[in-house]
Symmetry: C2
């Protein structure tokens, strides 16, 4: 991997591609420091050039130039990632797609939404709901771009009932590492036409191609939603209830778990009060459907299961305001926990959902044993945990040592429970070692072969995922 040194003439070429709009391209010292890291910030590297693109054509031309000249390129959305996938490890060009943020077409006859990759999740839900339509994936980070969500195959809260981002991508326009533009899939509902390159791009963290357009599958908007906030004595009690709910065949839209500490942090972060914080642990469930009666049967059934399993109460929220107050707290847990400490790192493992209780108990024991704060919240209904290890006042050396040790123990445990390294945050740079441990060598070898098929010069987002 030896790349060309980026020079002034490269900057000048990029500038010419974007019609000499100096507001959209930055060179060396003029690059904002934000472009050197993502949300978690543990890995940093400054790019030589940042270009804020406005069209597929711009992406294609820059990519073609970079390919011919052997300059590494890293695509970037809002930078809300947590594993360093958008960090330009080798310098070179960062293509910032956040200004390619137009919604292009709502097709109500095909129930699709065509949009550019920089559209934010919060904008999508707002837009489609105005048309009584629904884009189910619902990750906590609403200021993430759809391009970023596609590249991590983000799952979010509603995966229990509705699945993940992959399930809602009908088609993609992609700029390949050599600058060629290809369309994968389309508005079609079914497709068996060769290997699914679309499904390879989904979750590939910007290493195989740059998504410049996406066709999303929409559903009719459910007319009613009800949330249940259910306090338990302990988190273990709460989580052990989840497989019973799944088994009951009354499938909620979402099943989240949370602890008082995260709730208090969220209250402080938002400056808003949460409806209940008398208990140590909560399940938060949503049910949706087209009529109150349809939902009622389901949630009454589940409420009874919870009460039999030791729930202290069942608080029903059927107004939008009340639901908003609960879910906005849930949505800011990451930021709220971040505000509690000096630095943190995360584990985003996913295990079969009947084993999530085992994993949570295990992290609690680890917290005591290793004498370090570990906070978790996450998707109890789909087995995807978000676990944060807090640095607090540890010095650099001790922090690195302890963090490495604890992360290794957790990933080993996840593997033992037939889990996977990442449920939705991806591998990026930070989790490469754990991915390698978790998969057979053959799979890593095949992944590298795939990367080579797309990008023989290894110029697109090098150093990530399987390299």
């Amino acid at each position: 991997m030896s790349y060309k040194e980026v020079e002034l003439k490269d900057y000048e070429y990029v500038l010419s591609v974007i019609e000499n709009d100096k507001e959209r391209v930055f060179f060396k010292d003029d690059v904002n420091e934000d472009y050197s890291h993502d949300e978690l910030g543990g890995i940093k590297k400054m790019p030589d050039i940042v270009v804020q693109v406005l069209s597929t054509e711009e992406v294609s031309k820059i990519m073609k130039y970079a390919y011919e000249n052997n300059i590494p390129v890293t695509p970037r959305g809002s930078g809300t990632g947590l594993v360093g996938a958008a960090v330009p490890l080798e310098g070179g060009i960062v293509i910032d797609l956040s200004k390619m943020n137009k919604i292009l077409e709502l097709d109500e006859e095909n129930l699709t939404l065509t949009l550019e990759p920089g559209v934010l999740l919060m904008e999508i839900s707002k837009y489609v709901e105005e048309h009584e339509l629904f884009y189910p994936p619902d990750p906590g980070e609403k200021s993430a771009t759809i391009g970023g969500n596609i590249n991590t195959n983000a799952g979010g809260m509603r995966a229990v009932k509705y699945g993940v981002t992959r399930d809602y991508i009908r088609g993609l326009e992609v700029v390949l590492p050599n600058g060629e533009v290809v369309n994968l899939g389309g508005k079609v509902v079914k497709n068996s036409s060769g290997y699914s390159l679309k499904d390879l791009i989904i979750g590939s963290e910007g290493t195989l191609g740059i998504v410049t357009k996406a066709i999303l599958r929409l559903l009719p908007l459910p007319k009613k939603a009800v949330s249940l906030l259910i306090p338990f004595n302990t988190l273990e009690d709460a989580i052990e209830t989840v497989p019973k709910i799944i088994k009951s065949k009354s499938i909620p839209t979402a099943i989240e778990f949370m602890q008082r500490e995260a709730i208090l942090a969220a209250e402080e972060f938002l400056g808003k009060s949460f409806p209940d914080k008398s208990s140590d642990a909560y399940l938060l469930l949503t049910f949706d459907g087209n009529s109150t009666e349809e939902i009622e049967k389901n949630y009454e059934n589940v409420a009874n299961i919870c009460l039999e399993a030791g729930a202290l109460d069942v608080l029903i929220s059927d107004t939008e305001e009340r639901q908003e107050s609960i879910w906005s707290a849930r949505g800011c847990f990451l930021e709220a926990i971040k505000a509690l400490t000096t630095e943190m790192d995360e584990v985003d493992v996913v295990v079969p959902r009947n084993l999530i209780g085992k994993f949570v108990t295990f992290t609690h024991e680890l917290e005591k044993e290793k004498n370090i704060r570990i906070k978790s919240f996450g998707h109890a209904g789909d087995g995807n945990l978000h676990i944060y290890i807090l640095r607090d006042d540890l010095d650099e050396e001790n922090w690195n040592k302890k963090l490495t040790e604890i992360m290794q123990i957790m990933y080993d445990k996840a593997k033992e429970l037939q889990g996977q390294v990442s449920g939705e945050h991806g591998i990026g740079f930070a989790k490469k070692g754990y991915l390698k441990q978790s998969l057979p060598n053959e799979c890593i070898g095949i992944m590298r072969g795939i990367k080579y098929s797309f990008d023989p010069k290894n110029i697109l987002n090098p150093g990530k995922v399987c390299e």
Copy 2:
């Protein structure tokens, strides 16, 4: 591509792997002719060895031997394919997986079913429904194996509401071309751990690896289902109604279209009478849900839309018997049409669902213009057409000439309408040329690179998909 000639000692090795069970391995002249072709039968080639495997270990050992000795291997399920994917173009070994047909585990806490690849679709639905669970993919060919369905990413009738096979595969055990066994995915609901090799295997038609175990995602079984049979004056009238239904936000489980001729053929084939055949064209819809009220609102809404759009009547089937009589006719259209003629070939294109009317009208004009019988039926709700061109009494030369010409015209039209070559039957050998025309060279090149990453010696199912 020069492969080793298969000799007696190769047969003897395979025999030793399966513990000298001579009932399960066949050599040269003892191989049944059925193994030389699939359901449509247009492409034929005899294998040198057929082995009916019973375990992953057997598959792995045979594959490893074949890899080391450069012998081509073609995996096969029930042989219900239509594009020659299971035909051993280069001879060698056919691994018949139809006896690996055990259901291994129903996990009600994770809502998964783990099974071997030879389990038939009809067995899966029977088994899970006894446990009030539901495996939504519902292709017409119920004697297909789940392994075959995974390898074509079959869609079936319920794709309108529930999606396709891909959406219900949580994990796969796969024997790679070099004989190594790997597990992709698992029981986990979310997964962002490197490139999705699982999604590459799905739809790869036995060219990248041999599926030896699958973990399916199940849903709770809907408690009620109602079918509507809706006669129209013309097929165009019927199909033009579909985008209006989709737009109405009352999403049916299935929307099929059918013509009187197919119905009459099905009646004759089954020896059973169909509830109505007074009209030329029909839509057949299903709605499912957990209560009569929940379904009623939806289907009344859709019935009104159809009547406004010119439907002659709406026949409601809410008993199991009556639904069975309609759907069993729908299920045998392929065989029934096959019985009408001497030979036929098929087109399985998929177009955006608001353009299916255009495509059907186009084939009707083509039928007249080219003076050849063309029969179609299919999935109006998801844009996937099954179109059959009948040879009748054409001689070999004229048939080949006419067929080639008509197929080319149809695939060109599909491309013009932003469609894809195959909705669910795959590419296999028969559609390779059309796939190549429909995709940019870059995509074909990448697919070949992927094939090489999995199978550098090109011994697994050579000559298919993108080669």
